[in-house]
């Protein structure tokens, strides 16, 4: 069983190599002439004023939090969907209750305007 996963490990390593190799190669062949102006952050030709890591919209946090909720939801739905045929009507109704609770939360956040981006 576990040896089925060995090719996957190798493939992940190859995938990383596909990312690392071009950059290393590029570093080796390309010129390297650092320059104060060239290495400063891009800001349309201006000197960068204030820190780039500035305050940003709280809605990005909100999206991240909602994403965790829904993604967990999907993680719960996956095994349920696979065995749905065996667990039949009872399994379907149980998930209906679970999804119902989720939908209540979803409607609440919708009404609260958490999904508005004007």
């Amino acid at each position: 069983m576990l040896e089925n996963y060995f090719p996957i490990l190798l493939f992940i390593i190859v995938g990383l190599a596909v990312g690392v190799a071009p950059i290393v190669l590029g570093k080796l062949v390309s010129p390297n002439r650092p320059d104060g102006e060239k290495n400063s952050p891009y800001e349309c030709g201006f000197e960068a004023f204030e820190d780039a890591r500035m305050k940003f919209d709280v809605r990005y946090y909100l999206v991240a939090i909602l994403f965790i909720l829904f993604d967990l939801e999907i993680a719960f739905l996956f095994p349920w969907a696979v065995v749905l045929q065996e667990i039949g009507l009872f399994g379907f109704l149980a998930m209906l209750v679970f999804l119902g609770i989720l939908v209540v939360g979803f409607v609440y956040e919708w009404m609260k305007g958490a999904l508005e981006w004007e």
């Binding site: 089925n4 996963y5 060995f6 090719p7 996957i8 190798l10 493939f11 992940i12 190859v14 995938g15 990383l16 596909v18 990312g19 071009p22 950059i23 590029g26 062949v29 390309s30 010129p31 390297n32 002439r33 104060g36 060239k38 290495n39 400063s40 952050p41 891009y42 800001e43 960068a48 780039a52 890591r53 500035m54 940003f56 919209d57 809605r59 990005y60 999206v63 991240a64 909602l66 994403f67 829904f70 993604d71 999907i74 739905l77 996956f78 969907a81 696979v82 065995v83 749905l84 045929q85 039949g88 009507l89 379907f92 998930m95 999804l99 939908v103 979803f106 919708w110 508005e116 981006w117």
Partner: protein, 339 residues
Amino acid sequence: MMDAAQNLLGPLWPVVWTMVKIVAIVLPLMGAVAYLTLAERKVIGFMQVRLGPNRVGYGGLLQPVADGLKLLMKEIIIPTAANRTLFLLGPVLAIAPAFAAWAVVPFDLTLVLADIDAGLLYILAMTSVGVYGVIIAGWASNSKYAFLGSLRSAAQIVSYEIAMGFALVGVLMSANSLNLGKIVLAQSGGFWQWYWLPLFPLFIVYFISAVAETNRAPFDVAEGESEIVAGFHVEYSGMAFAVFFLAEYANMILVAMLAALMFLGGWLSPVPFLPDSILWLLFKVAALLFFFLWFRATFPRYRYDQIMRLGWKVFIPVTLVWILFVGGMMQTRWAYLFH
């Protein structure tokens, strides 16, 4: 010859043989990624009554090679304000999952590297890692445009990942397996047995989410060259930029492949009198990729609030309703329609 090699390498043989198989997947994939960039420029060129690149090689066929060489020769600039390690880690994390996910993709009944039962789960895990590359690149660049671009892009990717996940739940309900090969086999019986028909709304949601997930037009506000120049990879140059660029195209091919496997019957033939073959799979993937390019040539860019509204307020309710509908129908005597 293989016996001889097996004797020579002894216990190392499985490792070497697996590596050979991996290379046999990765090299054609790289070629496909390189030529998808040319195909995009050619297709969009013709749609705009231009010729597209036609100078390098016969009819422009060597253009990707020329582009690669040019980018290779360009200096990789690492801004002084950037976090060096994270800055270089970003592109690697963006491209590695797009390639690693191919470990479980079945090309044929027997042509699969790792035939595991948690295949779909693995793919979902891998595609989720890609967003780290975007966030890390945007943060490590320490530049305003990169930072804003990465925030937008990350929020968009995670939003559409939910819709995609729900769409896949529908497929699992019909196929009763997470194994990609079994999902394809569950669709056998010709064109009308494939899951695009019973799960039509989910297929549409999945495909549009796939476009948004890969940050492609018309959902490419992350790049938004008219407002935040190029988004999260504005500070990248040379090969570091090329890796991001390739990651985008590798992701496109991956999601097109998944759509073909899960909704369009993978390698199965649409009609009974033609044999099943890997060629069908390649044809389906190519057709789906053509839609990606067509969208870019046709649609104007969405506004960010429209993108988020579409993801949260349209796609998630649609998928939820269809999952419940399919689940309900499966309790009735019409269940066979959805298997």
